[in-house]
């Protein structure tokens, strides 16, 4: 019976895959919290649909990480038996759902990046990552379209929706910088043609944000101070609660088949 956290061999490629897997799982988990509670049935379906895509991406990336690692870890051990300090997702994706505007702004910031990221990763020299990217890109293009349309609707909707959406943009902006940061391990993967340099995507990401927010009559913040830490396992206080819910059964009844 294994109750404790698993150990992970943190080679650069394993860490790289885990970071992207954690992004997808945590964001998918957040979106799944909306299930049954959305403002309209169509959005209930859409948010569940996106959650499902993201959890699917997470599963592929965890499986890849486990294979690269070559120990006896698998997608479930990686998801359910790592604690908050071992999780490596962006701070952005662990932010609470808040109101519908906050959820959609979070989704918009992430999807605008993910769409560019996965498209670029289709050229990765790692065949598995390239294949995961080819599938994920199709999904993220849909997610971006969904989020962009909502940002425009909410921004250019009523005074209340405009105010709420602007507040969400201002609140979440500081968590976007982390998407473009790399450490030494990632730098080596970029040089090897396995990973893409996220800094090279920032201009186009910003252009998407500018276009959509302009049409939505919203403004991007001038403040460029950015919060970091998620990639190194230094999270907000929100993640611990999320993980205690996500992992409760595996922690209570360890080592079983479900």
């Amino acid at each position: 019976m294994v109750v404790a956290n698993i150990q992970v061999s943190e080679t650069p490629l394993v860490l790289y895959a885990l970071r992207r897997a954690d992004d997808a799982l945590i964001l998918g988990h957040r979106l799944s919290e909306w299930c049954g509670h959305a403002p309209m049935l169509e959005e209930d379906m859409a948010l569940s649909n996106i959650a499902l895509d993201l959890i699917g991406q997470a599963r592929e990336l965890y499986t890849f990480a486990a294979k690269v690692e070559g120990r006896d870890n698998d997608e479930d051990k990686l998801a359910y038996l790592r604690d908050v300090r071992q999780y490596l997702n962006l701070l952005l994706v662990e932010q609470p759902n808040g109101d519908f505007a906050q959820t959609l702004v979070r989704q918009f910031f992430y999807s605008a990046f993910a769409d560019l990221y996965w498209r670029a990763m289709m050229n990765s020299r790692d065949g598995t990552l390239a294949a995961i990217a080819a599938k994920s890109e199709k999904e993220s293009a849909y997610h971006l379209r969904h989020a962009s349309e909502w940002i425009i609707r909410l921004g250019d909707g009523t005074e209340e929706s405009h105010t709420r959406t602007q507040a969400a943009i201002d609140h979440l902006w500081a968590f976007t910088g982390e998407m473009f940061a790399v450490d030494d391990g990632e730098r080596a993967l970029i040089h090897a043609g396995i990973a893409v340099d996220p800094a090279s995507l920032r201009g186009r990401w910003l252009a998407t944000l500018s276009d959509v927010t302009r049409e939505a009559t919203l403004a991007l913040p001038q403040n460029d101070w950015m919060q970091q830490g998620g990639r190194a396992g230094r999270h907000s206080e929100h993640l611990g609660h999320l993980l205690s819910e996500l992992q409760s059964l595996q922690r209570t009844f360890p080592g079983l088949t479900w």
Binding site: C35, H37, P39, L41, E75, T158, R164, L256, W258
Partner: protein
């Protein structure tokens, strides 16, 4: 997922109608023709179906809550994805069914408002809580199993849009049922704790599931016209018996005990079950089940807190239409 104990005979309305048209309508029903939205139909037929289809739709939507309760806690990523996909399907079923109900002339908004105001019912089963992961397996196995028993005959219901919605719904529902049973198989082959969890879930869900088929035939007041109009094809007790007969061997395969010590098998193969606690059933329908208040509160909260989003979407759509008109005029 399911609807139950519906329809009243609107005799007063029927008396006012053209006897010739009514006879023609009945002849079409008797000939197994499908009634379509533009066809003439008795006002009581329209009302009965609006009530039944909308209650069915409400059940799908409220039914997302007990299972949704476990999405964030599903024990593996595979189970999490499957549960999420399932609950998403339920929402889709709700949408098909509201669309089918709308072909009878009421808007989805009116129908949803009636549910939120407590004027329209949803299936009694969704007023029971999901306390452990095994409840998710049990709901798939038994609740979806009971829903299928009831919905397969509805695929031949006289009203075309409802029958066609049921064909689509049943396909997904039988997939959910198998998924639920597979969870039960996994638990029953697992540790002692998992088996105990599965048995406890069956103990709690068995009787409420039998109640899903509605009151016993002797006390069911609504069946006559529904049968004549081919909305209903089997009685509550017939369907309930069919369900019990199909389920007992499944429980035996799992090594689980059905919480009915008085159960016996007749020479003809049918399983005779004990008396159902109809007092509990009445209480749950009257709003006094374990989760009635929570379910309604959750749906009302989603509706109220989502109002500004729906207003924003409507306001944006109006602005855009106005701009397009202005552009066209230039």
């Amino acid at each position: 997922m399911y609807t139950q104990a519906l329809n009243t005979a609107e005799t007063a309305d029927r008396d006012l109608e053209d006897a010739g048209k009514a006879a023609q309508f009945q002849a079409r029903v008797d000939a197994e023709e499908r009634i379509e939205p533009n066809d003439w139909m008795p006002a009581a037929y329209r009302k009965t179906l609006t009530r039944q289809i909308s209650q069915h739709a409400h059940s799908e939507i409220v039914g997302m809550l007990p299972e949704g309760n476990w999405i964030t806690r599903a024990p593996t990523l595979r189970r999490k994805a499957a549960l999420l996909a399932k609950v998403q399907d339920e929402c889709g079923h709700g949408l098909y069914l509201y669309a089918a109900a709308e072909t009878l002339g009421s808007s989805r908004e009116e129908l949803v408002d009636a549910m939120l105001a407590g004027k329209a019912k949803y299936s009694s089963i969704f007023n029971y809580p999901t306390l452990t992961w095994a409840d998710i397996g049990t709901i798939g196995w038994l609740v979806d199993g009971a829903a299928i028993m009831n919905q397969i005959p509805l695929c031949r219901c006289s009203y075309g849009p409802y029958a066609r919605a049921m064909i689509r719904v049943c396909k997904e529902e039988s997939f959910h049922q198998r998924q639920g049973y597979e969870i039960m198989v996994t638990l029953c082959r697992g540790s002692e704790e998992q088996k105990a969890m599965a048995q406890d879930a069956l103990n709690r869900w068995w009787w409420p599931v039998l109640m899903m088929f509605g009151p016993p035939d002797a006390k069911s007041q609504h069946s006559d016209t529904s049968t004549k109009w081919k909305i209903k094809r089997f009685s509550n007790d017939e369907l309930r018996q069919k369900f019990v007969d199909a389920t007992v061997p499944q429980a035996q395969y799992l090594g689980l005990t059905i919480p009915d010590p008085g159960m016996t098998q007749d020479a003809d193969g049918h399983w005779r079950y004990s008396e159902i606690d109809w007092t509990e059933f009445k209480q749950v329908l009257a709003g006094n089940g374990p989760c009635n208040r929570d379910r309604m509160a959750a749906r009302r909260k989603a509706h109220e807190e989502g109002a500004w989003v729906r207003e924003a979407a409507a306001s944006y759509a109006a602005k855009r239409a106005q701009r397009q008109t202005a552009q066209a005029a230039e």
